[in-house]
Symmetry: C2
Subunit: 246 residues, 2 copies
DNA sequence: GTTTGGTAGATTGCCGACAAAATACAATAG
DNA sequence: CTATTGTATTTTGTCGGCAATCTACCAAAC
């Protein structure tokens, strides 16, 4: 085992954080991003689980992960606690950490929750979003249009998630943003694991058009109804898949 | 420092868990409740923060808490991570743990979120709740009636929270239950810190009557509307308080 | 052949220790 | 008297190690 004399921050540097994209729009409290090893490990492990690097049911042995990330057990175990709280790991006392197995039931549950959260979010956004935030949403929507026309599915998914996040961000409700992030992460993970849940990008995009237009016009009732319909129909599609796969 | 030769589980026993009351309705997978020190500490610390033992802004020094709970720093720090993820602690890298300061803005945000979550929950409950769960809700409601008549405010609050939890539990949506628990905890904390937010138990109880009756009749639309109204009016009262206290 | 019991190895839970960073404090310069 | 710099102390971040537990494996009994 190559024990370099790590002065204190010994993680081999992990490229630009792909899970927390740039954290735009922070106020002037310039908190220097001093990240602990624990945060670094949690961040990497989170991405790896969401992306399917660690398949559901995997047993994560401390020894192995310590070597993989080049850290000792303390920061790793602290990261484990965070991941467990996020629902990505299950910690069995005395028996270690196991990657959770998301079921199709989970998918339905998350879909219902995110529908409720985003419906609230778009209502708030209609009332409280800044013009800049709305402009960002409009921009994302146009990008998605291009992706849809070019059939760039992977990018479509990424931007789709970004759009929904942007709507929630525009609500100005910090607690809502945090809760939504956690739920959306699970949905993203399910999409990654099952290889794209969305089957009809054209229909989906058309539904987007409705609630984005309503949001830009700050018509809360119309926007909420349109978004609710969109998410409910998505949830319904998931349920149909479950029944079909049984 | 009284160092007893703790064989492995050295926490001095902390009375019946007041944060997770009995966890009713679990299936037959009898997982023996082997709790680690970390879980024990997290559980106690959580209750203490929610109950205001550690005031907002308190700096929690590891040394002090280690002595208080009779554990070493490893399980304590793991518990810190959990509490941070729950939003009760803020971990400043290199500068320790600080109890979060819930603002009145937070209160409004949580109120909005819990309104959305419980409105979803009562809809699902109308469709999917078991008769036993509905009976439990009816029983709780009757208990609350008695408390209200006897003006037993403290018990009223406790049962009120239990009623709302029971409705969410009756939704059968496990993920929703988990998310709701986290949000409700913050609201409970705010109630404790500001000494009871609810000023009109009679009005509140009357509103309860409406959505409980609708739920028992499994009338989803009526139940959702009544609960939504109840929670929205509660949220409005909070907002008024903010304005009044400025 | 299946089940029970026992043993060896591996893995986790917890602890104390060391080094880096942050804080508190004092001395000095302005 | 205030501001600044340097130093001592405290506190945190991380690490390796020990003991308890769990797992795997094998032997013996039914």
């Amino acid at each position: 085992m190559a024990v370099e004399p790590t002065t204190r921050r010994g993680i081999p540097a992990s490229g630009p954080e792909s899970g927390t994209p740039t954290e735009s729009g922070e106020s002037g409290t310039s908190t220097i991003p001093r990240r602990s090893l624990q945060e670094e490990v949690a961040s990497r492990l989170r991405n790896e689980i969401v992306e399917g690097v660690w398949p559901p049911g995997s047993r994560l042995q401390e020894r192995i992960l310590c070597e993989r990330y080049g850290v000792s057990r303390s920061p790793l175990r602290e990261a484990f606690q965070v991941m467990a709280k996020e629902g990505l790991l299950e910690l069995l006392p005395g028996r270690g950490a196991v990657v959770t197995r998301p079921t199709m039931t989970d998918a339905v549950e998350y879909a219902e929750i995110i529908t409720a959260l985003e419906t609230l979010a778009i209502r708030s956004a209609c009332e409280r979003a800044s013009d800049e935030q709305l402009e960002e949403i409009r921009r994302l929507h146009e990008e998605i249009r291009a992706c849809n026309e070019q059939r760039d599915i992977e990018r479509y998914f990424r931007l789709n998630n970004a759009l929904h996040r942007a709507i929630v961000a525009a609500s100005g409700n910090a607690a809502l943003i945090a809760v939504h992030e956690g739920v959306q992460r699970h949905i993203t993970r399910l999409q990654n694991l099952s290889g794209a849940l969305e089957a009809e990008p054209d229909k989906s995009f058309h539904e987007h058009e409705r609630f984005v237009q309503a949001l830009l016009a700050r018509d809360a009732d119309r926007a909420a109804a349109a978004l609710h319909d969109h998410l409910t129909s998505t949830a319904e599609k998931i349920k149909e898949r479950i029944i079909a796969s049984e």
